[in-house]
């Protein structure tokens, strides 16, 4: 069966995902006059970039002395030296022009009294290579991500980017070692659409939904990484997943680090600022992996609030004025979702699954690379949270993701422009959509089977409990067995909705398949890495081990267990040192 002609489109460039990364890439291309299609399963303004609160960092030095080298150092150290330093250098240098360009596009940053972009403190960002906190995070109240997403979408409208909203990309077309386009499923009517294109950017965001408690949107199901994985592309550094310290208890909604950047305290049951013990210099502004672990340890030793599994985020000393001016949104979250008044009451918080350091491996031009030797796959790009450049190494610093998605989204757009000038729209076989159509059709019409939602719930639980902030060899083996079992059960799952129009039941089941793939790679990579580094903490191997493990992992999909390979870390400026704060 072939897709009808009117459902075949050709574009010099196709972008999958309309978050910060996808939109900036689209903008680069559109400004070059290249007809660009952006496919997104949500309306662009629904992308999770809009949920980012705290800020975006760049060493502008608007308040105090700052240099990109300091930013680069913090990034490398924050990532526990697993960061590729060539990439971190690009990030820290280009951050400055990127933020200024955002301002030129109209982003309404908060301002200093003399009219410059306002900046605030954020965890792990320091002056002079670790001396003291520095004001590096540029922000627009506590909706910086919202403003970035809106501003980029607005500019895309201005420059005539073509949006295909609510098109769910379900397959990549990679033939003869080169990229030829994507296959998408139009949610409104269930029709398949083929997009032929020599250059495809994956910018599908994260996959926090594989954990039970997460700050991530329901839509963040790792579609891009899983599709790449299924086409033989490895997933890099999947064992490094970040747990953010301050999630709303039980549901994981994020209370931004900006709350601590503005001076909030973390307290245990005895009312102590327990970070004194774990990061005496930076206290609450230490990096996230350190704080999340400290919180778990406090809880484990019985100092959680009322003996429970959470601690308090205390803002009461900041005063109403600061809270209302600088943290309006997150205080509202506490009111709506917890019934707590943060101006007068401490807010119960617990770590929440937040950010994937790992993902689709790319080089600094955002080209997808497929092996230890960094061989690029022509025409395929990845940027944003789904990609791994890697600027975050083993642990990302707050505000470094927004700048990552923009710097590398921008680079992806520029390199794609170069690529499409040299390559025409490729041919694709007439029945290219057939395999995925058949898969979806089988899922949609399977007569009896298990409820996929139960599988998702079990996956989220096992990942949270066995592959979370703390891991051990045995917990990971348990997790691996469960994931394998769930994958098996998934093959027999049945969706209830048999319709073609807006069948979200079908798509959620499809997305569960992506989550299972990401989970498999995550658990396998975590099992293999017998050390502790950044967000990956093995209780059975609590030390960092640079002689053995100063390398990136690559998980390849096989019929059975994923195959693990490793590639070296790029070290240009800063030799690995013990990491203390």
């Amino acid at each position: 069966m072939t897709v009808p002609e009117r459902q075949v489109h050709e574009f010099p460039a196709v972008i999958v995902g309309a978050g910060g990364a996808g939109l900036w890439a689209a903008l680069e291309l559109a400004r070059e006059g290249i007809d660009t299609a952006v496919l997104t399963k949500l309306y662009p303004t629904r992308s999770h970039t809009g949920a980012a609160q705290g800020g975006i960092c760049a060493a502008l030095g608007n308040h105090e002395e700052d240099h990109w080298e300091w930013h680069m150092f913090d990034t490398v150290k924050g990532g526990d030296y697993l960061v590729d330093q060539d990439a971190a250098e690009v990030l820290a240098r280009e951050a400055i022009e990127t933020v200024l360009e955002l301002e030129h596009m109209g982003l309404p940053f908060n301002r200093t009294p003399d009219g410059k972009i306002d900046q605030r403190r954020f965890g792990g960002h320091t002056r002079n290579f670790g001396e003291a906190p520095v004001r590096r995070s540029c922000f627009a109240a506590d909706r910086t991500g919202h403003m970035i997403l809106q501003t980029l979408y607005q500019q895309c409208i201005k420059f005539g980017v073509r949006f295909f909203d609510e098109y769910h990309v379900v397959d990549l077309i990679i033939e003869g070692g080169e990229t030829r386009g994507v296959v998408a499923y139009r949610i409104a009517d269930g029709e398949m659409h083929v997009f032929r294109s020599p250059a495809v950017l994956l910018a599908t965001g994260g996959f926090g939904r594989m954990f039970r408690i997460t700050s991530n949107a329901h839509a963040l199901t790792g579609d891009g990484p899983a599709l790449a994985y299924r086409h033989g592309i490895p997933l890099e550094d999947m064992e490094f997943y970040q747990f953010h310290p301050t999630g709303i208890v039980g549901i994981g909604i994020l209370l931004s680090e900006a709350a601590r950047g503005e001076g909030g305290y973390l307290r245990n049951d005895a009312g102590e600022r327990f970070m004194e013990k774990y990061a005496p210099k930076l206290m609450e502004l230490g990096p996230r992996d350190v704080i999340s672990r400290a919180m778990y340890l406090e809880v484990r030793e019985g100092r959680g609030i009322g003996g429970g599994d959470y601690v308090h985020l205390d803002l009461t000393h900041l005063g109403r004025a600061v809270i209302e001016a600088k943290l309006p949104d997150i205080t509202e979250f506490a009111r709506v979702y917890q019934g707590i008044e943060p101006i007068t009451q401490p807010v119960p918080v617990q770590p929440t699954a937040h950010y994937a350091m790992g993902g689709i491996p790319t080089d600094v031009m955002a080209r997808v690379v497929i092996d230890e030797k960094n061989t690029a796959l022509p025409g395929l790009y990845a940027a944003g949270e789904c990609a791994c450049v890697s600027v975050h190494g083993a642990n990302r610093l707050g505000t470094n993701s927004l700048i990552d998605i923009l710097v590398f989204g921008r680079r992806a757009g520029r390199d794609m422009a170069r690529h499409v000038r040299r390559n025409g729209v490729p041919d694709v076989p007439a029945d290219v959509a057939e395999p995925v159509r058949a898969e979806l059709e089988a899922l949609r019409t399977r007569p009896v089977g298990e409820n996929p939602n139960h599988i998702r719930a079990e996956l989220a639980s096992v990942m949270m409990d066995e592959c979370g902030v703390f891991r051990t060899g045995t917990s990971l083996v348990r997790a691996y067995n469960v994931v394998c079992d769930l994958k098996d059960r998934y093959r027999r799952a049945q969706v209830q909705d048999r319709g073609r129009v807006f069948n979200t039941d079908l798509l959620e089941a499809r997305e569960l398949g992506y989550l299972l793939d990401c989970a498999e790679a995550t658990v396998m990579s975590a099992m293999a890495r017998t050390e502790s580094r950044g967000g990956h903490y093995r209780e059975d191997y609590p030390q960092r081990d640079d002689t053995e493990w100063l390398q990136h992992s690559l998980a390849y999909r096989t019929e059975g267990r994923p195959e693990m390979r490793y590639k070296p870390v790029s070290i240009t400026h800063f030799e690995p040192k013990p990491r203390t704060y």
Partner: protein, 139 residues
């Protein structure tokens, strides 16, 4: 396989038709407010006089001719009220009708009917105010 450039599904052209009738809508919005303020004085005074100062039971045709309209001031007052109320009332009704009629043809038709009615009321009202002979001691 031949392919066609992306079709009707892609982003539609977003601009609406050229803005139209802006001046008229602005004026009617503005004048609705002005006449509203004027009516607050005129209409409420009028109502108070006729219902609080006098009682309807007293207001025979003779009374109107002899007492109420025996001064030019009150005739002018009522004529002014008539003009404001006509403007305000008819523009207001036009708003109500335009809000609720979607078909372009009916819209034009009904608004013209409304204008016709306005003209009629204007003529009747003006005529009676102007032509009713002044009796008693006029001013």
């Amino acid at each position: 396989m031949t392919a066609q450039r992306s079709v009707e599904l892609s982003a539609r052209s977003s601009a609406r038709a050229r803005p139209s009738g802006s001046r008229r809508e602005l004026l009617s919005w503005y004048l609705m407010r002005l006449t509203g303020v004027a009516l607050f004085v005129l209409a409420l005074t009028h109502f108070s006089i006729l219902h609080f100062l006098f009682d309807p039971a007293e207001q025979t045709a003779e009374f109107i001719a002899e007492e109420r309209w025996n001064r030019i001031f009150w005739r002018a007052f009522d004529w002014l009220l008539l003009m404001t109320v006509l403007f305000h009332g008819f523009v207001g009704m036009r708003t109500v009708l335009l809000d609720n009629i979607r078909s372009e043809r009916n819209r034009v038709l009904i608004v013209y009917l409304l204008y016709g009615l306005a003209a009629l009321v204007f003529i009747l009202g003006t005529q009676v105010i102007l032509t009713l002979p002044v009796r008693g001691q006029g001013a």
